[in-house]
Symmetry: C2
């Protein structure tokens, strides 16, 4: 089962990488784009065999403790897309 | 209007960053997680005033030319979430 995790910077945190990309876009004439913020998109391959509650706990804990920085970032977990491998 | 762009590595491309995270998770006892792949999650703030067709063209072109590397990556554009600012 695949689980997608989106990690975004909190709105109050400056994003220099996004700013640099935005400036590059403006210089290239992409005038419809007014801002860029860059986060992470993490795909987890989760064992189908695991107990669903335990699976969910592990995904949530791993995201909170390792995949995101709770001081600067927020995350969203998107349930599995059903593509098992 | 906000537009979200997900950029993922193609399945055939090795992801050493994801592998390192996966190993760390395993060492910490997250045994339900069998694999990790790390991509980018980019939020674009797009001018509502722009012509929708032109807007879409710019988003698509910016993503293809600047935000992703077509040799190694694939992208998905998610239509605006309606949160204008």
């Amino acid at each position: 089962m695949k689980v997608a995790v989106k990690v975004k910077l909190k709105p109050s945190i400056l994003d220099p990488q996004g700013k640099a990309v935005h400036q590059a876009l403006q210089q290239l004439g992409f005038d419809a784009i007014n801002g860029v913020r860059i986060g992470k998109f993490i795909e987890l391959e989760v064992a189908d065999s695991a107990d669903p509650a335990e699976r969910e706990r592990q995904i949530e804990e791993a995201t909170r403790k390792l995949l995101s920085n709770p001081v600067m970032e927020v995350f969203e977990i998107e349930a599995g897309e059903g593509e098992s491998s």
